[in-house]
């Protein structure tokens, strides 16, 4: 393809991230940082065959969630672009990519590492950030109010406690629900 054809193809597709990346922002140590954590070891094996992207069920719906692209960005050393990316959080953890990968990259596990690094850097999406609090306060990840109990009553189902205190006691007792330090 000519350079112009390549550009046209790129511009005709919806943007899945930045359109332009300055390579000078790449940090050579980032891939080693990821690979040093448990679960990230296989990262450097990737040779970009695209099998993971091809089998990913999320990618089929959301083209921006492209496992191969995320690995590429890590290998280019683009730490900020990766850890700030909202797409890190779309993984359904179905493990199909890990089973399909010919190079044992173990992408699902790599993504857990990236998610942990992102959370530690303060890039947890709000929907996830509130989950420990929801668990502590409501014993579940979804708040039960009179609206839900009203619907349940209409269907003849027994109601659920709306502000169960005992979950908080249990979780605090076992130090669950508190954010990890460091």
């Amino acid at each position: 393809m000519t350079d112009q054809e390549v550009k046209d193809q790129m511009e005709s597709q919806p943007a899945v991230g930045p359109r332009e990346i300055d390579l000078a922002r790449g940090r050579p140590g980032f891939m080693h940082e990821v690979a040093a954590r448990r679960g990230g070891e296989g990262l450097r094996n990737c040779y970009a065959c695209g099998a993971c992207s091809a089998v990913c069920p999320v990618e089929a719906q959301e083209p921006g969630f492209d496992p191969r692209r995320l690995i590429r960005l890590v290998l280019l050393g683009l730490k900020d672009e990766v850890l700030e990316s909202p797409q890190l959080w779309l993984c359904s953890t179905c493990y199909t990519c890990l089973e399909t990968c010919p190079q044992k990259v173990g992408f699902t596990e790599v993504l857990f590492v990236l998610k942990n690094m992102a959370a530690q850097a303060g890039h947890l999406p709000p929907g996830l950030a509130v989950q420990p609090d929801l668990l502590r306060d409501h014993g579940r990840l979804y708040e039960i109010t009179d609206f839900e109990n009203g619907n349940r009553a209409e269907l003849g189902l027994p109601g659920l406690p709306e502000k169960p205190e005992h979950f908080r006691t249990i979780l605090e007792r076992f130090r669950l629900g508190a954010r990890e330090e460091g």
Partner: protein, 637 residues
């Protein structure tokens, strides 16, 4: 003493042709010139029976002479009845009979086979410096050959038993394969040495590739020097200094270049604070150790960007600054880099010395300026002169694996030449009464195979039997056995002397190269239309001359077709193109005399193109048919 003439006829062929073997045998035995005719079922000595030394033998039903009869002075002429009869018109018995009679007429004129013993010089000369020369010297030394190396300066010997003669240049090579007298010059004067084969490895000349756009780039060898230099370059201590390598850039890179790029990039990434980025259309790692080197480079932080064939897009932002840009489909974005230093690889180019070397050694240069003809049959390492080989940079080969293979082949061939001290005598006959010492033959020979004492002679090892000398000789003083003018004319007389039917197809003569046309004919399916074709085998199409074409027309041919190898596939590398040139000239002459030039055709073919050749003949046949009877028929009126 009368000549004994024996005709051996394959019984299987007669049966296959629907003929009664006993009856046919009786017919042939009755011919005046035949001493004895025999039916044979096979061609072993037991099956053919005793044959007196010096007999003339026709092998009817066989395509090659019998080796054990050669040494007994027998003059043989094989004729492949099955193939030839399929292309002649007429009843089976007549066709077979005329083919045998033509073979008899030819067999008379075949010279007796003879051998000679020669002495060769069991030494190899290797000329050149660098890795290719080292590989070659090692291969020759390991093969147990004595080697003289016009190599690098050294105060001792080369590896093993290699004799080093540094500082000498090749100034000439007289003689022939196995027996070269080589002239060397140096600052101290001339010397002569005798060697059996010469392996020219040449010098590596490198040209930096033109970087895309207006980029200012450093050639790789200069950068390598900087890396190794003392003191270290300033940029080595700058953490954000970006070095960009451009590999390929509009042409394919080689594994050799890739190795150097990878090593340099790794040295930057692992050995300095600076960073390295490689822009390559292809990361060519198909050579030992390169995959590992590539992985090492990646682990050290070298970024590899795949570019289109033309390389990265170069944007200049004025005052000497620029950016490199490539769309990366994996990242889904354009990757942009503003490098601080750009390094571009170098490509192998023909050394300036090649022209002088070619002149000194009588070698044909290819179009690119390397020392080998542009012909696939001269791969991997042959030149137009037997016994002289060109490899590595001398013929444009960079990849170490390919160079090693060339060296192995050249050494094996050199060994064979040096070991061949019993050889078949030269096929070239000189009529001293006609030779005027004009030296046209010597100048024509593309293989430097003709020597000249007080008469021309072809060296039997160097001669490739193309026949160009015989065709060009203005006095017809040279003949190349067994394709001599008298032999060819004797066969044509018999074959074209058959009585003609009114409704018969046109009479064609095909002069075919033995390697391509004869093989293609043997592989061809039988013609789909009525054809009457006499096939005359030539050693090479280069042997064709006006005389043979004229004889064919005068003896009764309606059309003459010359079939040669494709030009870049010609066994002798000049035979086919020279034949074409000669026939074009002849056609212009024919036209001037009022003779329709379309009756003379030229086609190229190859040994495996049986179907194509068959179609070409049938098509020629159709065109000649439309033109009516040829000149001989006119004369008969």
């Amino acid at each position: 003493m009368t000549t004994v003439r024996i005709v051996l006829i394959s019984e299987n062929h007669l049966v296959a042709a629907g003929l009664d073997p006993k009856e046919f045998l009786g017919r042939v035995s009755a011919w005046e010139q035949v001493t004895e005719a025999r039916l044979v079922r096979g061609w072993t000595p037991g099956e053919i029976g005793p044959v007196p030394d010096g007999a003339v033998v026709v092998l009817a039903g066989r395509s090659a002479p019998l080796p054990w009869l050669e040494d007994r002075g027998c003059r043989q002429f094989p004729v492949d009845l099955a193939v030839r009869a399929a292309w002649l018109a007429g009843p089976a018995a007549e066709k077979t009979a005329v083919l045998i009679r033509a073979a008899l007429a030819a067999a008379e004129k075949v010279p007796a086979f003879s051998r000679l013993t020669i002495q060769t010089f069991p030494r190899l000369l290797v000329a050149g410096v660098g890795r290719a020369a080292e590989t070659t010297v090692r291969a020759a030394d390991q093969a147990g050959l004595e080697v003289v190396w016009l190599g690098p300066e050294n105060n001792g010997h080369g590896p093993g038993n290699v004799e080093l003669r540094p500082g000498r240049r090749l100034a000439g090579a007289a003689g022939f394969a196995g027996r070269f007298q080589v002239l060397l010059t140096s600052d101290h004067g001339f010397e002569e040495i005798q060697v059996g084969a010469i392996l020219v490895c040449g010098h590596e000349a490198r040209t930096p590739l033109t970087p895309p756009g207006d980029l200012k780039a450093l050639p790789l060898s200069v950068f390598e020097g900087e890396l190794r230099g003392n003191p270290r370059p300033d940029w080595a201590d700058k953490p954000d200094f970006q070095v960009a390598f451009i590999a390929g850039a509009g042409r394919s890179t080689s594994t050799d270049n890739m190795r150097r790029v990878l090593e340099a990039a790794l040295a930057v990434a692992a050995g300095t604070k600076a960073r390295a980025c490689v822009f390559a259309a292809q990361v060519k790692v198909a050579e030992s150790g390169l995959e590992r080197l590539y992985t090492q480079a990646r682990q050290a932080g070298v970024v590899f960007i795949r570019t289109p064939e033309s390389g990265p897009v170069v944007e200049s932002s004025g005052d000497g600054a620029f950016r490199l840009r490539v769309y990366d489909p994996l990242a889904g974005a354009e990757l942009v880099l503003a490098p601080d230093l750009v390094v571009v690889e170098e490509t192998l180019s023909p050394a300036i010395e090649n022209g002088d070397l070619a002149a000194a050694l009588g070698l044909t240069m290819g179009k690119d300026g390397y020392l080998s003809p542009d012909n696939i049959l001269f791969l991997p390492a042959s030149t137009n002169r037997r016994g002289i080989f060109a490899l590595g940079p001398a013929r444009g080969t960079e990849e170490p694996g390919a160079v090693a293979w060339e060296a192995a082949q050249a050494v094996a061939e050199a060994r064979r030449i040096i070991g061949a001290t019993e050889i078949e005598a030269s096929p070239l006959e000189v009529d001293l009464g006609r030779c005027t010492l004009c030296l046209t033959c010597v100048r024509t020979c593309p293989h430097q195979a003709l020597g000249f004492a007080h008469r021309p002679s072809a060296d039997p090892v160097a001669c490739r039997r193309c026949g160009l000398c015989a065709a060009e000789c203005p006095m017809d003083a040279l003949q190349l056995a067994p394709f001599t003018d008298p032999l060819v004319k004797a066969r044509l007389e018999v074959l074209l002397g058959r009585p003609r039917e009114k409704t018969a197809p046109p009479r064609l003569v095909v002069f075919g190269c033995r390697r391509s046309a004869a093989a293609a004919l043997a592989a061809a399916p039988p013609p789909q239309a009525p054809v009457d074709l006499c096939f005359i085998t030539l050693p090479c199409a280069g042997r064709i001359e006006d005389d043979l074409v004229w004889s064919a027309f005068l003896l009764g041919a309606d059309g003459v077709l010359v079939a040669a190898c494709h030009e870049d596939n010609c066994r002798t590398h000049r035979g086919s193109p020279e034949a074409r040139r000669r026939l074009e000239h002849l056609r212009r002459l024919l036209e001037e005399t009022g003779f329709p030039p379309e009756r003379l055709g030229f086609t190229t073919t190859a040994p495996n193109l049986g179907v194509g050749f068959s179609r070409a003949i049938v098509e020629f046949n159709r065109r000649i048919g439309e033109m009516g009877p040829g000149p001989a028929a006119e004369c008969e009126k």
